[in-house]
């Protein structure tokens, strides 16, 4: 099994998809030079400029044109550079792409992947650091993917390109260099979580890079004899309710942790679902971790005030166990 970075895993997924299907078309600014994070490196050389297309600084046109192409036989992979810039194409994504198949009574499909690197990236400040996954989970018609590991960035991106729905594909821009084993044959099914660590004392639900922190937290907890089950949801729509409810039935304790602002974050959906469907199984108060409802500052010490850390996850897990006694 090769060891790949999160970045290279995505390149491998695209390369294989493009080799297998000549309708796959990547489009975005500066793709010819490998993309702003190098996540298209080498592809222009292999597939040429018609299939690895540079684009003008026209996010609305990139998104809209990719959609028109998707309805007309292409399978676009759209690069938005920073998820923040995708807000320049919100009408296209939310009013057009997500709704067309339904509005047109099933006549069309939008088989496309919208790559939107998200999250904190040291001192990128408020316009280059957002995590808005909960927005997209709220929009019928969209699939929402948040890979956290090289393996998942390979298998989820392949699955996203192969599927006929529009997929909002949120890579975390802080972990392009993370390395891990990648099994090219590992299948992925949207809506299936990965149990990152097993445990029977407390359930920790997370996704994207925060799931990596949750794994670290579980290691720390295990040193104190606490068994944490870390569930990496991987996709937020659909999301693996069964895995979460099953784990909570076992542990009776729930911590949900993500990098996005807590208020209105997808953690609220997870907690609310558990409260509705399994509230009686909870043995301690649920704990939800996310950023305060403040903006991402530039200065590193201020930026750190917005972060959910491994230690915060550890503390939250202990807190719910403590209070549940």
């Amino acid at each position: 099994m090769p060891k790949l970075t999160y970045r290279d895993a995505s390149i491998a997924a695209i390369r294989q998809s493009m080799q297998e299907d000549s309708t796959v078309w990547c489009v975005g600014e500066d793709l010819g030079r490998g993309g702003v994070f190098g996540q298209y490196k080498g592809l222009r050389e292999e597939f040429g400029e018609a299939r690895i297309s540079d684009a003008p600084i026209s996010e609305a046109a990139i998104m809209g044109a990719a959609f028109g192409a998707a309805m007309t036989g292409a399978r676009p992979v759209v690069e938005m550079r920073f998820s923040d810039f995708a807000l320049c194409a919100t009408d296209e994504l939310v009013n057009q792409i997500a709704k067309a198949r339904f509005m047109f009574g099933g006549q069309s499909r939008a088989p496309m992947v919208v790559r939107k690197p998200m999250g904190l990236w040291r001192s990128s400040a408020a316009q280059h650091s957002q995590s808005l996954e909960s927005w997209y989970a709220h929009i019928p018609g969209l699939v929402v993917a948040c890979p956290g590991t090289p393996q998942d960035n390979y298998s989820m991106l392949k699955a996203a390109i192969a599927c006929d729905d529009p997929v909002v594909y949120l890579e975390h821009k802080g972990i392009w260099d993370n390395e891990g084993d990648v099994n090219f044959d590992e299948p992925y099914e949207f809506g299936k979580a990965r149990i990152r660590t097993e445990g029977s004392d407390v359930t920790i639900v997370s996704w994207s890079n925060t799931a990596n922190l949750a794994v670290e937290a579980a290691e720390k907890l295990s040193r104190e004899g606490i068994g944490a089950e870390v569930i990496d949801l991987r996709s937020l729509w659909p999301w693996d309710k069964e895995a979460v409810l099953g784990s909570v039935a076992k542990t009776g304790h729930l911590v949900v942790a993500h990098e996005a602002v807590a208020v209105g974050g997808f953690g609220a959906e997870v907690v609310a679902t558990v409260a509705e469907q399994a509230g009686h199984q909870l043995k301690g108060p649920v704990r939800r971790l996310g950023a305060p409802r403040s903006l991402v500052p530039y200065a590193p010490n201020l930026e750190d005030m917005l972060r959910v850390t491994t230690d915060m996850i550890v503390a939250a897990a202990k807190d719910t166990l403590e209070k549940g006694k």
């Binding site: 003008p56 026209s58 192409a69 509005m103 006549q107």
Partner: protein, 332 residues
């Protein structure tokens, strides 16, 4: 029987299409106002039929069309079924979008009509993308995107046209300029010399036509289509017309100068003008009246049939959202 040089068959068929569009929309307005059978807004194109008829005459079924909220005429002229369209306006089973889209989202992918759009200007980039896919696939089809004069003040106008020119895509952008955007006279909110000047500044060949002269629209479109099919660069057509009705069928449009619509109807009705042309070319009034009556009968019948069609099965409210995580299979 026909004057020299005039393509009589084409002229007749252009008139017929305009009559059908007119009749369809008249019935649709009656369905809305008289019968209260159309609950959403409809935007009639009465008086603008020459644009739809003249352009679509030169498109093949495989060619692609995208349109606006005011898109009944374009859709019908592209070859959609009047019954499926009327059913859609009434939100019925068998509507071209299964009753889920309504007038503002009318579409018939089987005849290459990829949708009206409820968001002004949004189809400009989408249409460019359809043309992009055609070019990527090495297809020979062409794309036409029609939008209103109001749409030229939205960002996608710039972004979509720049895109089409940069990638040299097989597409014609048509500004169907009916002089109004909702209750506003568009020129009052538009800087510079308008649609064609903007298109030209983006490196696009641009033609301006009297959009109520259906023969001229058809002639112009024939040339443009030929150039596009020969691999030419994208083009722009500025078709000047006039919105004779209110913005929607319910809008009395009191904001227009007194007498303006009446004057336009008298002087500049595209159907009347084409009848004059055809009369000149030797078509009898009786023949022309027959086209009118046939169109009227077709659409009266279509409205009746649509009104007799049941509403869609309720479970379709959760169908065709998405394959993965569909509300039809997921509890919510």
């Amino acid at each position: 029987m026909t004057t020299a040089g005039h393509n009589f068959e084409r002229g007749r068929s252009l008139l017929q299409m305009m009559e059908r569009i007119r009749a369809f929309e008249e019935q649709a307005c009656l369905a809305a106002e008289r019968d209260k059978l159309v609950l959403g807004a409809i935007h009639p194109s009465i008086g603008q039929e020459a644009v739809a008829a003249g352009i679509m005459h030169n498109l093949e079924k495989e060619d692609i069309l995208l349109s606006t909220h005011r898109g009944h005429g374009h859709t019908l002229a592209k070859g959609a079924s009047s019954l499926a369209m009327m059913r859609e306006l009434l939100g019925r089973e068998g509507g071209c979008c299964g009753g889920k889209g309504g007038s503002m989202h009318i579409a018939d992918f089987d005849v290459g009509m990829l949708g009206a759009n409820g968001v002004v200007g949004a189809n400009i980039t989408i249409a460019a993308g359809a043309a992009h896919a055609i070019k990527l696939a090495g297809d020979k089809r062409i794309v036409v995107d029609i939008f209103g004069d109001g749409a030229i003040n939205r960002g996608p106008f710039l972004e979509g046209i720049n895109w089409a020119v940069v990638f040299k895509l097989p597409i014609l952008f048509v500004c169907e300029d009916n002089q109004y955007s909702a209750t506003t006279r568009t020129t009052t909110m538009t800087a510079g010399d308008g649609a064609a000047a903007r298109a030209a500044s983006l490196g696009m060949r641009s033609t301006t036509v009297d959009g109520n002269n259906v023969e001229l629209v058809a002639d112009t479109m024939a040339e443009i289509a030929a150039r596009l099919r020969a691999g030419g660069a994208p083009e722009f057509l500025h078709a000047k017309t006039y919105r004779r009705t209110g913005h929607t069928s319910f809008d009395p449009a009191g904001y227009r100068p007194a007498g303006e619509p009446e004057e336009e109807e008298k002087r500049n009705d595209p159907i009347a003008r084409q009848r004059a042309v055809l009369q000149e070319a030797g078509m009898t009034l009786a023949d022309m009246d027959q086209l009118h009556e046939d169109a009227q009968n077709e659409m009266i019948d279509v409205l009746k049939q649509a009104a007799d069609t049941p509403f869609p099965a309720t479970e379709t409210a959760f169908e065709d959202v998405q394959d993965i995580g569909s509300p039809a299979v997921e509890a919510y």
